[in-house]
Structure formats: C-alpha cells, structure tokens
Symmetry: C2
C-alpha cells in the first residue's frame, strides 16, 4: 500500500456500495480543494448540528475559521469529535426506473478532533489559505488582518487522517429488462458556474475586474 | 406573529449575525426546494457523521431515503436526534480586507427526530416527491418502484418545525477607511448550471431529450 493511501477505519470504510470508496490522498485533496465550502458536524447537548462554512487545506491539514464568539467554533475548540464533509454534485443520473435514479458526485468525509490554532504564524497562514482557497490570487491584493481581527477570529485545525471519499461517475445502471423502456436516459451534467462580476456600488469608476475574477473557475 | 413564522428555539435562533436569521416558512421552503441535496447529521457512538443525500419536501415534512442497509438510515430509523442542513451558494463576496470577505448564501437547518415511513401510500408518495424534487416531470415517464425495491428502500420523515434559515445577500461591507484602497471589490455570482445532456450509451437512436431535461433549471 502506497503512502498516499489512507487506512480506512471501521468509521470511514465505505459500507454501502464499497466500489465507490476512495482512500487515495491525492483524490481526497483534489475534492477538498475544488469544493468551495464544507459542512461541519458537531454535537452539543446530545443534538447534532451541521453548519456550512468555508475551509482550506494545507498539506494534510484542514482549516476552518469563524468568529471567536460562534457556538460552533467555541464547541469545536473544546476538542470534541467533529465531522467535516464536502460534496461536489457533478450530474443528475436519469435511469429508466425511479429506483435507479442517482447523482454523479464526489464527496469526502473527515473525522477527528479539531484543535484551535494558537501559534500566530500558522494562524495567519491558515487565514491566507482560506482566502486563496476561495479566490486564488486575492490575498495579495487586499488588506491583511490586523490585531483586532486576528483576535476576533478563531481558526481550527483538523488532520486529514481518518477520512474517505465516495465517488460516482458514469451513466445510469438499469435493470436489464428496463433497457427496453422507451424513455430517455442519461446524465445531465451540472457545474457551479460564475456569472458576470458585480462591482461594489462604492467602487470608484475605472477599477478593472482582475483576471482572477473575470476568468474564475474551480481547479 | 403570522402562522407562516416558525418559532425560534434556543437551538435554532441565529446567534451570530442575527440580522441574517429567517424564520418564515415560505423562505425556508423555497430554499429547501431549490437545493438539490442536503447534508444529514447524526451521532453514532459519540461521533457526529455528516452525509450528503437527496431530500424532498412535501408540505411541512422533509423526506430522505436510502438503502434499508445503510448505517445512516438504520441509525436514524431508531429515532435519534438529527440535523438536516441545505445550503445554496449564490456568490463570492470580495471585500477590500481579507477579514470582510464572505459569501452570499442561503441555508436552512432543520433539527428534530426522524421517523421511518411505514405506511405504503406515504412511502410511495415520498419516493415520487424525491424524483420530482430533482427532475420535475420525470416520475411520470419512468418505471415506478416494485415490491422488492420498496422493501430495499427506507424512507424517513422529519417535521420542518424546529428550523431556521440564514441568508446573506448584497455587496461587501468594508471598514470605512478601507474603501479608499485601490483594489476591485464586489460580488462574483455563482450558479449551478446544467451542461449538455449526455445520453446513456445504451439509449436507442432517435429517443429525444425531454424538455424537462433540455430546459432544466432549479425553481
């Protein structure tokens, strides 16, 4: 087993449709990098919560950030178990039976315990990575965080160790006898697509749209 | 307070940036209906799990489905607390400072306890609603579920009662002194967009792409 492979645990081994399971770090990293946002799951008072937020990956570490006052950040900062899930929808899979309808997707689940990043250098690098994750090229152009902003922001680190991906691609798989049915079947690909940039109403005239915005696309 | 308003609980009241909180059923329903998929959070052995899956709304009920053998469906069928979250990304908000970067989004969080749908009529209606949620017009054209498929599928129902939405719209909000910075600022709108339908390789020649596929768009 190459060192790029994660070891599935009882908690991350894909049980349903194991053929869709992927444990290759390279694939996981690509999915984590392409996804603009993630869903963070944590437990508070016995109740699970799932909150959408922005993440960034640096090597084998996943970072999320937020207000130091947020319930999610305060809860996670205490070192409780967390699940970070990203999912990319690639297409709708239209089969000849209702039962075999599906979606083409790529998802990653990372389990573990998050820790607050207290070291200043790592914290500023993580915050820069989050801006660059969303809009590569942006961080060099904007004002970086000042002391008050750094203090108001909590950054959490989660190792990408106990993790797995699940991927479905390709056309529908129908029951053999259903292929004779007369209805159209196939895949409708979907992609998150940028539209025309909308300048801030307070932007002075003549400030050009930067290339990294005008030609925006996910990796 | 109109009956269309949900009552926020301590668990669903938006604490951070309360101006973004929405409790109007109409808005929640629109977000739930537009979102193609959701993220389901549940706890098993003290560990939270967040799994992407398809949902559908019928009135004040949210349905999810899956293999009767799946860990998620088996766990949730036992009546444990669940959190279903949907999120729609509408745009990247590029401010003049790294700190004020944001996203325009609409999200809904539904808390509660799911119950397995055992009544046949409700189960078949829920499964049809799930197909129609993804591709309106599709269910009339395809073979419906047979007895074996119904048995192999578990459907869960979650009331949309303890729930809230969170919405951000509009341009970046910068610190007053940062408006003088020379960089471009504004919003890059994003939308999940269909591409050219890909016919199943086994589709006979001459079967036309249906209008509900060719002109696909979310509500």
């Amino acid at each position: 087993m190459s060192s790029s492979m994660l070891t599935p645990t009882e908690r991350t081994a894909i049980q349903r449709l194991p053929k869709r399971g992927v444990y290759d770090r390279v694939v996981l990293h690509e999915i984590l990098d392409e996804a603009l946002w993630c869903h963070v799951g944590f437990v508070s008072g016995g109740q699970p919560y799932v909150i959408p937020t922005i993440h960034a990956r640096v090597g084998d570490r996943l970072y999320v950030h937020g207000s130091a006052a947020s319930r999610m950040l305060r809860t996670l900062g205490r070192g409780v178990p967390v699940c970070v899930t990203v999912s990319l929808l690639d297409g709708l899979v239209l089969a000849r039976s209702a039962f075999h309808h599906s979606m083409n997707y790529r998802s990653v689940v990372v389990l573990g315990t998050a820790a607050e990043v207290t070291e200043r250098e790592e914290k500023t690098r993580a915050l820069e990575a989050i801006v660059e994750h969303v809009v590569p090229g942006r961080s060099a152009e904007v004002r970086g965080p000042n002391e008050l902003e750094l203090k108001a922001t909590t950054v959490l680190r989660l190792p990408i160790e106990e993790a797995s991906a699940k991927v479905r691609t390709g056309p529908p798989i129908d029951d053999e006898e259903d292929y004779a049915l007369p209805c159209w079947a196939g895949v409708l690909p979907l992609r998150l697509t940028p539209r025309k940039p909308e300048a801030d109403p307070r932007l002075p005239a003549g400030v050009p749209v930067p290339a990294y915005v005008a030609a925006y696309r996910r990796p």
